[in-house]
Point group: C2
């Protein structure tokens, strides 16, 4: 366990005040429109300095939870409601080509010089990564072991890094061994290997709707048929619906993102995770748990992975370091559960091993013990940024817009009743703004009125201007 | 072009003498058993110093071309004949499971501590790689650009490295652009992407028999059906046979290794390459050219790639740096020909980009200009080692054994009439010796009496002892 981290976690006073008020706002005890006590009142009530209270209020303002009113202190800001209705409409006829065309279009748009990219789900900017430290550790690995660069990598990857993944696991309820783990070329290769280990061409695979868009071409490549499973926008996979579906449709495997879902940002309630784990164990149904955002959960302590409730190894876990630490190094990992041996052979046969230099460098960084501290900062930062983005959307998007309340990460999923987001996409692109239209997250048209925004860059005037403008275009589309 | 390389290439005198004599031996002008002129005779004939002649003769001895006879100077050594007959027997019934089981067994055997590994086709030992220089360049890239480690890689990979690949291309007849190229996670991912770009599950793909063993599980994964094409052990793919086959069996693509074939070591004659390129262009049939050993051709100047004769971009080329420069970095590359755009999308969708740090480091090494010099040394070294290994086989393996005469690389392919190499494998493994049994290179049993040996490690007493022992076991099997 990371004992060194908990000791450094006592937050400063302003932070504690800010957290307490934020909870009161989220919990509805401080309703929209209500006034916070004045700075002086609060300072004397809590026996805090005025500066501490100012810092706390400023943080709430940054997070979009309160708005300063001229000469009237701070008021709880109007908030978006979270979508509550599951989008259970029957899957439309497969339109994979459209989905593919749209994805290619987004990709092409992201490459245009000068666009404001609200689509890419990778942090950009040095404030999001401990780049200097990682570079230092990498240089050190190079100095101490020239042989790392002149030797073929071990098939399972850096043993040092596997040991660190094992060590950190229990924090998220993952109790594993190095023999069950494998480093992969990004989390995407881990998904691929896990799927290949448990399916054959022609099989059906249950995936959530909406799902990570690159899952679709991956399934197509492997000759697999996606069966879309209903989700609740705030609670994730609908286990009842899954159970009912399994009675009539056999699937070879499931791919689920139970902790900080992409694109929804939601985490399944513990009870649902338990039920799902029991269900796949009882049915001996392989489940691939995509946990790439699990380290960026906003709550402390973080919720455990689905894998924590796995009894017989039917759950495989996919993780990685690209979102949090080393985007260039492309290091993913896979806990293969009961399929670990088969997966190791597939890995060897398809891309060999992973660079020892990079694995050892990340291991050295983790060994040095400041990863948890870094993650802690990032969770706060993303939480703030997501809050600010929600607030911007509340202010500038059409009435009736819903936005998820992410439980981690840096993604926001919007429902814009009455707006075709493909049309919005083209209109926005003409003004050099790119986002992810909802239709790339499903085969059918059910997310035609949805979109995903990322806020893993500096929320500067350019970013804010783009969001405001996007909202304005959406309003125009509604007005028709 | 690499003008800096040709100027450094004038070999020393002993080398020129040794090359001349080696050619005479290979060409049959100095037949087996004939005596070389005495050291003194040769020195006075050629007006060379005695030391120069000694060095030249020693090199021929190292290469296994001559044997010192006590008090009788040097004699041209007995040589293995190269196999001449194409193994055209009809493909047996598919036995993919056996092939898979055997491959898993080899992999497992290679991991045993203490084995002498004659199977692995990756150089082991620092004399085969410029590790110190590469580490230095890597450290320099880290120092000059911390941002490399904290930024997501560009989808196509390091532009610096792509530029170097373009620059080096003409040496092998490859005239390409960075826009058509892509870095991949080892050459294996390049093969995968190229196949995915031009096939769909259910398609048939023509591959050589024998073929790189990891091609089979790759095809299986993608739902593709391998059609094995006959090869000549010294001239590679049989273009006549291919042409006849295409008349009756449609294939979606071909995978061919025309330059230093794995496992055969052979290079297709130029005329055959030209015909094959014309054929695929005329038929608009995508061909994937695996060129990972092309930089290790023994002849100077090297033979051009098949791609050199491609007219309309139907040939894709797979290359990489693992065999020659940076095994740990796992850098492959792919010239996607007319399919480059589709391949770029597939790459993004399946594993993202390649680490910029590693790509830039290799680029920096190439820019510094000593790669060609390094390759030159390696070609000589492997040529010598292959020669010594052939000689060992000639001395210790059963009568009737044939061995290919590789035109590059470090692999030797043996035919042992009357020996089941799976049995030999198990017997050898019991004595901690591992090699590649022939049956992993084809679906059927046609290579049951074949095996592949690697000589990309130091040929020390342990290595030599293992080859001798392997020969002895084979003789026992023949006698038994």
């Amino acid at each position: 366990m990371d004992t060194e981290d908990t000791t450094t976690m006592i937050p400063p006073r302003y932070q504690r005040l800010s957290d307490e008020l934020a909870e009161a706002i989220h919990g509805g005890r401080l309703p929209v429109g209500s006034r916070l006590p004045s700075l002086r009142q609060m300072a004397s009530q809590r026996q805090l300095s005025l500066n501490t209270v100012i810092a706390a209020y400023r943080q709430l303002e940054d997070a979009g939870l309160v708005i300063p009113r001229p000469k009237a202190g701070f008021e709880v800001a109007p908030r978006l409601s979270a979508p509550q209705r599951s989008l259970r409409d029957a899957p439309s006829a497969p339109t994979a080509p459209l989905q593919q065309v749209l994805m290619a279009r987004v990709l092409e748009a992201q490459r245009r010089p000068g666009v404001v990219d609200l689509a890419f789900a990778g942090p950009r900017g040095r404030q999001f990564y401990p780049g200097a430290q990682l570079a230092r550790h990498t240089a050190q690995v190079l100095r101490h072991g020239q042989q790392t660069v002149e030797t073929y990598a071990r098939p399972n990857g850096s043993q040092r890094l596997l040991a660190q993944i094992v060590r950190r696991g229990p924090r998220l309820g993952l109790h594993t061994h190095a023999e069950r783990l494998l480093l992969t070329h990004g989390a995407m290769e881990a998904l691929q290997l896990a799927l290949r280990a448990v399916t054959q061409a022609g099989d059906a695979v249950g995936i959530e709707a909406p799902s990570y868009f690159n899952l679709y071409p991956l399934l197509t490549t492997l000759g697999l048929q996606p069966i879309e499973l209903p989700t609740h926008p705030q609670r994730g996979l609908d286990v009842d619906a899954l159970e009912a579906l399994l009675e009539r449709t056999p699937v070879a495997a499931l791919v689920v993102m139970p902790t900080v879902h992409n694109p929804l940002g939601c985490t399944m309630p513990i009870a649902d995770k338990q039920r799902l784990a029991e269900l796949v164990n009882a049915r001996q149904l392989p489940l691939i748990e995509d946990a790439v955002y699990a380290e960026l959960q906003f709550c402390e302590p973080p919720a455990p992975l689905l894998k924590a409730f796995d009894r017989d190894g039917w759950v495989m876990v996919v993780g990685g370091f690209s979102k949090t630490l080393a985007p260039d190094y492309r290091i993913g990992w896979l806990d293969g559960g009961r399929f670990a041996e088969r997966i190791a052979l597939l890995k060897f046969q398809s891309t060999g091993g992973e660079p020892q230099l990079l694995g050892d460098a990340v291991a050295a960084y983790l060994e040095a013990g400041s990863y948890e501290h870094h993650l802690h900062r990032m969770r706060r930062l993303y939480r703030e940024q997501v809050g600010r983005l929600r607030q911007l959307v509340a202010e500038h998007f059409p009435a009736g817009t819903c936005a998820t309340e992410p439980q981690g990460g840096f993604l926001l999923w919007l429902e814009l009743p009455g707006v075709d987001t493909r049309e919005l996409f083209e209109r926005a692109l003409a003004e050099d703004i790119v986002f992810m239209p909802g239709q790339v997250y499903s085969r059918g048209a059910r997310y035609r009125h949805c979109l995903r925004l990322s806020c893993c860059q500096t929320l500067d005037a350019r970013f804010i201007g783009a969001v405001e403008r996007l909202g304005a275009i959406a309003r125009e589309l509604v007005a028709g």
